[in-house]
Assembly symmetry: C2
Homo-oligomer: 758 residues x 2
């Protein structure tokens, strides 16, 4: 079964190479390095040679043809930082390149069990030197600053000395494509090299961002198992150590330890870099591999999902979870970007994707990391308050639609700032975390404040009208309709936000009155406001169409013409790249799940008939042009008993990046979709929901599979769910007392017991 | 009564000076020169030293933070061209400046009867030289290329030689202010000097725009009544002729003839410039003054409105009409910019302002110029067709919201491209022209094609829904609400567009079948399309609220909360400069007349009760933040018998620029509002409407006035309307036969007769 832990791709075609730079990124939530070749490609090959630090950004100006009040003036953009990938092997003047000479064998793979990425090449040089090279990379999960590269070189038919050139290069720039709104535009030259220091033991290159003067140091050490002479070559923007290994050593083992320290985290990036480099280079590469494997063993012990039988699918599922682990920020100033640390698409920004698509996985399979992600939102709460003031709201917080450090970075407000639902999404994820972990401390310290402040924003932007609470001029998740009144998703999520604000207030009032008082004083929250929250919650308007018996996406949606799908050629998808927004807005057509997502997140707010009718109606007019769509349709198809559809949509998520089905994996992997894969299984096929006081399940198994097995933590207990063709087992080995509702019937799961359903 | 033809302002305060640069522009529809001082201000004074050629533009790139499909990539921007204003007077080393020495008297005025602008200064230099200078400028209405400046210098207490330095300066740039969406942003350096030639008789400076390589030549000649020596001084970007006049001439008369020829109009700008300069400099300045006066005599003979009694008001009315004449393009490649040729606000673009606010004046008072304005839209019909294709429409034309030569220049589509109503506005103005002139030839040659192609766009963007024709995702005239469904204004105007397309088709089918056939073949127009036009016209949905008994601005408008006017401080107006668009969109608040405008343009599409209720409702929530608003409210207040309001709103329009009530006259005058002033009187107080087959009138006189007297051409006959306190006289001296409806009763006006109503 080893190969179900391996992602392998030996293709050397131009298009595949650039895509695989994303696929084979090695990242640990702090640093991420794209899977470029150390020695490079031929010059004409397109490449995005990239290294990123989560939340390390530059402030770049935003240009507008016509600017209006409170349009963001600058945005935060992830920086392609100093490149430490460069290694060249030279034998007798011939430089190793897989694109020259004869490649006798080539293997390229990611091992998700051990946490490393490998290239193995058996190569005959143009002049006949034969050698084997094994290159292994890792971004350490234990030492987050460490990106290590290990070379094992075996001389097959020669004895001459091998020269190893290892460089760090500060002459880097960001990638841009002004014609694709999903990629960055302009502002590609960000970093300036400040200083380079180098001796035989250590190289260090320090750079600075041009505008905001953020600093980044790369400190590099090497180790080599054979004797050598070393010389240093410096220029203005890069530095190279040249290792002249002696003749006669058949096997050379060479390790490059690169330490990244940035000024957002380290008080003295130069000294801290040196210190950490000293420390980690004491450990051999083998030791680092072992540490990496241990970390992953623990991760997989809870996170792994086995689905039996289908190897490619199993690979896909594991890859997606592995990438989430690689992507997740492990301090509270960073989060999960739309592309992880694998590329620059969406400029390294954090979106609602984290809360709605990714947090469920971490909340249930790694609550410590989930807590960090939630805490991140608390760290930017002040920015969100400030943004609310800019937007003319007297109270509350308006979280930015896209951001790194809290500033609104969206320059197209109809599909950005107008998506107020992000505030409810954040509140929702705090509540889900609370329900799954019971972690009241966290709610007291951080959650309550965020939930109160986000609840306030609904009172600011909504209004009572003929006895109903209405919310105008917002955009829901489906960006193919923008700036509408009473988007169902927004309203129902806002209702939940308001309900929980009031609920938590009352809970704290009863149990922790002092803490509540302190918080109320801090943010000037009054009982009258809570009453208004409650009133708005209870009278929230949720659009419903009596004729169609469905929820209406917004007040006007169902009056529009339906998009002419029949006469839309395949190459015109995604629509956003082929039609003006206005043209798209004019029709009933969805980029992604909107009401169907609301019906998933808050299934108790609609009856099953409405949910089913809505699914049937909206599915027909959804293009799934967003990678955030299929998972939700899969989950809801499972719920509604459309098992074939659930399977098909799931399949669309599972290998989206591995098979590059959206055609833009080169810009980075799709992290939200990856969370969606997990949800499609756990929330979809297994039908898991975290409710107040209990868990509900509704297990189903696609015909083609033999089993689904996964586990998660619920209030500290590890629960294992095993769905087989003829039965489902729910078990725990922990000391617990868990209320379950399975297919509507109540069960109690206690210590070391097993529930078996047949 | 002379002073009612004079606009005078001698204020030398910094703020007033920059505003008066706009007020005292001299323009003739081809060239426009701001009222800068020839000799300049002190260095620290802000100034926009500007000279513009109507429709002479550069293509400049538009930047977007996030770009979407079919967003315009470049826009056309009017160019601040070569400056030929420079003249300096030097006596014994002392340079004349009104900011130094002693000003014994100073007069600055525009004479609208003679068409020239004058500065008269009686000056004592710091060293005691006393002289009088009279500087007169004109932009010739006869020789459009000519901008002439005349100096009369009288030496009072000295005899020494006077040096006159006269320059043309190619070192010019556009003005920009990135924080005001109503002004241009970026791209200020456009022109490069190509060549300078100069001899004792003629200076010529040729420049070129950087991107599009459009060329402009300024050819300058001088004349002087006293003997002198001349020398030439050239540098890279400018050239100067220095006239050393001899001692002893008490009175010096010096004329500078500047000829502007641009490559959009002239095949050989250098030679054509030379040729025209030779020709016009044969005529003395006095002769040019006479020609100018003759031209204006004819203009005023039809265009003038006398309102008796109030001098400032009479000035304001005349100034506004005079500026319209100065602004109007006199060839079919140019039109009327939002700021005329007096400034760079809105970047020299043409909007719907021309059709709805300005054309009525020209249609009735100068049909030849009106024809040119309409023909301009025909010249850009191909661009409008192309834009429709870009926007995904299979047929029809989509006129750009703002443009110079036809390309869409709006970079914020919710308040730009979404304003599809411009297509109906253009069609409407063709119909109005046809009804007023009976010029069927023009309709056959140009009008029908424009009306058919614009009608088609409604079929493209609208759809039949439950038996009604609906139009989604558009923005109406009121930009404080954007991208809505079934904007009443848009729908009712589209209805008219569709009705007239079908009407003209049938009229041509009957009277000019061959011409119709030819046109139908050219644009592939079928009878089925006409049937669809007719069906859409008849089933057009016009939103109406039963409870309020008003037309609803759009499907959702009346469900929104009403803007909190009470808690909006005065300094927060205009709202667009103080609130994010989303915040504004969330409320019932209008920037300008929307339904009220529709009820004016198409009064027969609603009953008087609905019109009155709508006025009462919308007036309360209209900020008039746009200068296009008050005139419409004045007209409709007149119609509804709110005579005091009509008067107040009228007063807001009449001196908007002269009194700088919007605070931004420095960026240019407000041409649409100027057309609105005329409409407020003629369509407002006199209640004129051009209907099919007749004219209707409903005369009213504000209490404070003694009379209103104006005239216009109707189907070739000059009709004079004279409203007095006790009677109204309608008369003509022409051979005609005009059906009138006055206060609902029918009359017939025939040759040389007079209708007197008491």
């Amino acid at each position: 079964m080893k190969n179900q832990w391996i992602i392998s791709d030996n293709n050397l075609e131009i298009k595949e190479l650039i895509k695989n730079e994303s696929i084979f990124n090695v990242s640990n939530g702090y640093i991420g390095i794209r899977g470029n070749f150390e020695e490079g490609y031929p010059k004409s090959y397109p490449t995005i040679r990239g290294t990123y630090i989560n939340a390390f950004y530059e402030d770049v100006p935003i240009n507008y043809g016509e600017k209006a009040y409170a349009f963001p003036e600058t945005m935060q953009k992830i920086v392609n930082v100093t490149d430490s990938q460069d290694i060249n092997i030279i034998i007798n003047g011939e430089q190793f390149s897989i694109f020259e000479g004869t490649v006798k064998s080539f293997d390229r793979y990611l091992d998700m069990e051990t946490g490393c990425y490998v290239r193995e090449i058996w190569w005959l040089s143009p002049l006949g030197k034969e050698l084997k090279i094994k290159i292994t990379r890792l971004a350490s999960f234990k030492y987050l600053e460490l990106f290590a590269i290990n070379y094992e070189i075996e001389k097959i038919n020669f004895d001459e000395e091998v020269i190893i050139e290892s460089a760090i290069n500060g002459d880097v720039s960001n990638y841009s494509d002004s014609n694709d709104p999903r990629v960055a535009s302009g502002n590609s030259n960000i970093l300036i090299v400040n200083s380079i220091t180098a001796d035989e033991n250590t190289l260090q290159l320090v750079s600075e961002t041009q505008n905001s003067k953020k600093r980044i140091a790369v400190t590099t050490k090497h180790s080599c198992n054979v004797s050598y002479k070393v010389s240093i070559k410096k220029d203005e923007k890069s530095v190279k150590a040249i290792f002249n290994t002696k003749k006669g050593n058949k096997n050379i083992c060479f390790t490059k330890y690169n330490i990244y320290t940035d000024s957002r985290r380290y008080p003295n990036i130069e000294k801290d870099g040196m210190r950490i480099a000293e420390k980690v280079s004491c450990h051999s590469f083998i030791e680092h591999l072992k540490t990496q494997e241990d970390y992953l063993k623990e991760f997989w012990s809870l996170a792994d999902i086995t689905i039996g039988s289908d190897k490619k699918l199993q690979q896909g599922v594991r890859y997606n979870l592995y990438e989430l682990l690689q992507a997740v920020g492990k301090d509270s100033i960073s989060n999960i970007t739309a592309k992880g640390l694998s590329g620059e698409g969406y400029e390294g920004h954090y979106f609602w994707d984290t809360e709605i698509y990714i947090l469920p996985f971490f909340t249930l399979c790694n609550p410590a990391l989930a807590k960090g992600l939630l805490k991140y939102r608390y760290t930017i709460l002040d920015s969100a308050r400030q943004r609310a003031r800019e937007m003319g709201h007297k109270k509350g917080a308006a979280y930015p639609w896209r951001t790194i450090a809290g500033g609104e970075c969206s320059s197209f407000f109809p599909a950005g700032t107008a998506q107020y639902h992000i505030n409810a999404d954040i509140a929702y994820s705090y509540v889900q975390y609370y329900l799954a972990t019971g972690d009241m401390e966290f709610i007291k310290d951080f959650g309550a404040e965020v939930i109160f402040e986000t609840a306030r924003i609904w009172i600011e932007i909504g209004h009572f009208h003929k006895g109903l609470f209405k919310i105008d001029a917002v955009t829901g998740p489906d960006e193919y309709t923008a700036v509408v009144n009473n988007n169902f998703y927004t309203n129902v999520m806002a209702k939940y936000n308001l309900k929980w604000a009031s609920k938590l207030y009352n809970e704290l009032l009863e149990k922790e009155p002092e803490i509540l008082n302190k918080l109320c004083r801090k943010i000037n929250l009054t009982k009258e406001e809570i009453n208004t929250f409650e009133k708005a919650n209870k009278s929230m308007y949720l659009p419903y169409d009596k004729d169609l018996k469905i929820n209406a996406q917004d007040d006007s949606f169902l009056n529009k013409a339906i998009w002419d799908f029949e006469n839309t050629p395949k190459e015109n998808y995604p629509l956003l790249l082929n039609y003006h927004p206005l043209t798209i807005y004019r029709y009933q057509v969805l980029k992604q799940a909107d009401i169907v997502l609301a019906h998933f997140l808050l299934e108790d707010e609609a009856n099953i008939e409405t949910i089913k009718n809505s699914y049937d109606y909206y599915e027909k007019i959804t293009t799934h042009d967003s990678s955030l769509s299929c998972a939700v349709y899969s989950i809801m198809a499972s719920k509604l008993g459309y098992l074939d559809k659930a399977y098909e949509y799931f399949m669309d998520t599972a290998r989206l990046d591995l098979d590059n089905t959206h055609g833009n994996t080169k810009d980075g992997i799709h992290t939200a979709n990856m969370g969606g894969t997990w949800m499609s299984i756990v929330y979809g096929f297994a039908g898991l929901r975290i409710k107040e006081g209990h868990i509900s399940l509704s297990p189903k198994l696609p015909n083609i599979w033999n089993e689904i097995k996964f586990s998660f933590l619920y209030k500290g207990c590890k629960i294992v769910i095993w769905i087989l063709k003829d039965k489902t087992e729910i078990s725990t080995k922990d000391n617990c007392h868990v209320n379950l509702k399975i297919n509507g019937e109540s069960y109690l799961l206690t210590n070391n017991e097993k529930i078996v359903l047949q």
